[in-house]
Symmetry: C2
Subunit: 506 residues, 2 copies
Amino acid sequence: MYKAKLLDFDTKSEIVVIHPEVEDPRDSQTNLSQVRYGKKRLLVQVVRSPLVSPQEIGLSPKVADHLGVQGGEQINIVARSKPAAVPLIMKKYDHQTWSYNDLRSIVDDMYAGNVSDLEMAAFTLAMQYEDLTIDETEYLTRAFTLHGEQIEFNEPVYDKHSIGGIPGNKVSLIIVPIIAAAGLLIPKTSSRAITSPSGTADTMEVLCDVDFTAEEIMQIAPKTRGMIVWGGQLNLAPVDSEIIDRVERPLSLDPQSVIIASILSKKLSTGVERLVLDMPTGYETKIENRQDAKNLSALFVEIGRRVGIQIDAALTYADQPVGHAIGPALEAREAIETMMGHGPRSVLEKSCELAGILLEMAGMARRGNGAQMADEIVQSGKALTKFYEIIEAQGAEQHYKPEDIAIGQYTESVRASSDGYISYVSNKQIKQVASALGCPSDKQSGLILRRKRGEFVKKGDIIMDLYSSRESALDNALKIANLQNPWRLEGMVLERISSTPHELSG
Amino acid sequence: MYKAKLLDFDTKSEIVVIHPEVEDPRDSQTNLSQVRYGKKRLLVQVVRSPLVSPQEIGLSPKVADHLGVQGGEQINIVARSKPAAVPLIMKKYDHQTWSYNDLRSIVDDMYAGNVSDLEMAAFTLAMQYEDLTIDETEYLTRAFTLHGEQIEFNEPVYDKHSIGGIPGNKVSLIIVPIIAAAGLLIPKTSSRAITSPSGTADTMEVLCDVDFTAEEIMQIAPKTRGMIVWGGQLNLAPVDSEIIDRVERPLSLDPQSVIIASILSKKLSTGVERLVLDMPTGYETKIENRQDAKNLSALFVEIGRRVGIQIDAALTYADQPVGHAIGPALEAREAIETMMGHGPRSVLEKSCELAGILLEMAGMARRGNGAQMADEIVQSGKALTKFYEIIEAQGAEQHYKPEDIAIGQYTESVRASSDGYISYVSNKQIKQVASALGCPSDKQSGLILRRKRGEFVKKGDIIMDLYSSRESALDNALKIANLQNPWRLEGMVLERISSTPHELSG
């Protein structure tokens, strides 16, 4: 046992320091050691250095945080012995199926801090290589919900979830107030953007707080009927979050089985019973092919049925960004504009279609009439009134008009270099421009796509306006936009296949 | 640019320290940074701490070693940007095949220090999940040989290699002198044990040095005709070694495609042209099934043909350890005893059979007569004379007789608890007992298996003798041996299937 000493080591790594004279308790195969304090366990990397005395163990802040120690506590350190999870994980490499007990043991060991990053990668990469069976996916969903926070209400909980991948998708800010205005309970947890320009939580945070505890959500939501909060700090299905942080993000992975288990376990942990699932389907999104989207939707619906969540999935058009605004502040503006009745038609329509499905699932509208009912809630001003009520309950300083929301002071326009029809807008390149502008961390950065697919533009017409809080970011983004041209301009004849060979024109 | 400062951090991790006021150059997706010095690059974990000034960068010894700096040099640190290798690695998860250029780029980026442990795991785990095609395996073999040391001779090089997994396999110590005594050149590089009781290099090291540079090998081997050296420090096919250290060992993996590419790339790097491959096939070894051994052998032969190595593979009996002695010093004793003419018959036979194949491949013996020629070389004493010549050239202090070799002073016998035939000896449990005794690091530890499969023993007969340099290790091993009984004793009737139900006896 060693006395805990906090180190002023600002690092993302799990590092502990012991004195050079102390024997290094390290497993020879994995080079890993495990620190233990009470029931808490964590795999760590050991540094031997005279920074600490032979009686002490130095802990980086991340390690101290995880163990919940402040310094002075008695900490044990041992060579990591292989947990039960490891041979179970490796079964997949012998092409065996996982039972519920297998997956529960694996997830339990991950929760207990017994599984290394490499082992967690072996778990995740097997599912990236080959999808789980429906049974395994159900088991994984259930196993993920065994740990972490549980949010419960005494009435049915509705929810809307997008599997993401499409820029400008601010529709949750409109759907939640529509559903809440109709009297249904929709306490939506949402994510922050990682690689996309803005997550729903990022956009909402422009207007009000999004960090709430489970207790606060259980208090506020039944009154306002709706909330939009950041799910990240709620400790929902924490093993799933670990897998995302430690494996999926570093490797840019997104295995289908984990997508399903990840989303549905978090829904189960927040008491969701009815869910509309937005499946953006289009070029340069997560799902490019309509048949793939249908198959994935069917899987979601079936796993949902098994675990007690009624799901309607909606394949939505995603060949270009939703609406015009991209970036947290600009999207917040556009969402409010839409509820005021002067937003882009596509944003209003997508919001009402998805909200309508929930209204139909609730039995409040007949099948096929939900979207119209949602539209009426918007047109009557009830959605906007509800939205202001919600952001007020979440600590908003005012009932923002679009123009009240600050956007980047540095701005430039990007113009058409020739006449033509916009035959294509690139989701991928729009994201790159937005990222160069500072999205999602610079909330005032982003772009307005003034002209979209199918429109005719003349040389010199403005196609997009760029905004940033930093001049250098704007310059950089402008360079990228002009170099890559995130759209294509063509005449009505896209290509000419001729028997006479032509010279290629520059 | 920061001034390098060496830290007294004894650690296996790649850690650098920068001052808290210095911006943390870290890729947000992978949390990785890269240090650069000249053409050297290394992915590192960053700690921000006032241990260094804002002008300095603190390097752990492993980092300093890799960069080749002593302190005071100007080091750059940048956010790691994703190398070309990563999307190429991930192609496999879309079930695409790797081209030679793909594998070359991947291996190049690994060599350049651009690939993280997780990414290397993604590469290796894909091959664990599904074997590469023959083409891909050939390309991987070639790609591995692009970096690292090249050993060349002006004459054909012979070699013997075992894919391992069987305890007591000391036959290389006998085969090399036989082949060298016949005049052929056999500068054998061998490995140290990781999980097994003793690697060939561990056993040889009991008698003489095994650490030689490429230049020394090229000088000594043509004179003695044979050497047995440790390949680990030679920097042969270094990317393969990285994959083993960073992924395969921590995850206990051994994907077939990498086994082949690993072995053959190291052979190519040492100029081997003709190779006999020992494939121990038996229960509780790497290859349990004879058809699997045949398939793997055929693959080795074909990849060898493509890269210019003539290979004969020999499936060898491996249902129990080879000979009686297990552990470095005890195996060295048994190898010398065998060359003196009073070793176990199985050790002599296996050595002569494998050596005979090489003599036949060289055209020195007609097909079917090689083993007899090898046996004559042993019986005439030429093998032993040559062995002494080799160990002398490798710095041996004397021409060891078996009894000159020190073995563990703490010793105990394990005895039969009943009468019976030994129907089974467990390779796996023998390895566990040997490991508990101190193998491979305690060279004087190990065991002598006095009775083997098929033999009849009476209650109280000695089955094995245990040796260790440490009393506590001996006690522990004895406990394991008595608890697990690494053998099974049965009557001639192994089981009785009867129509009358019997009570189970305790």
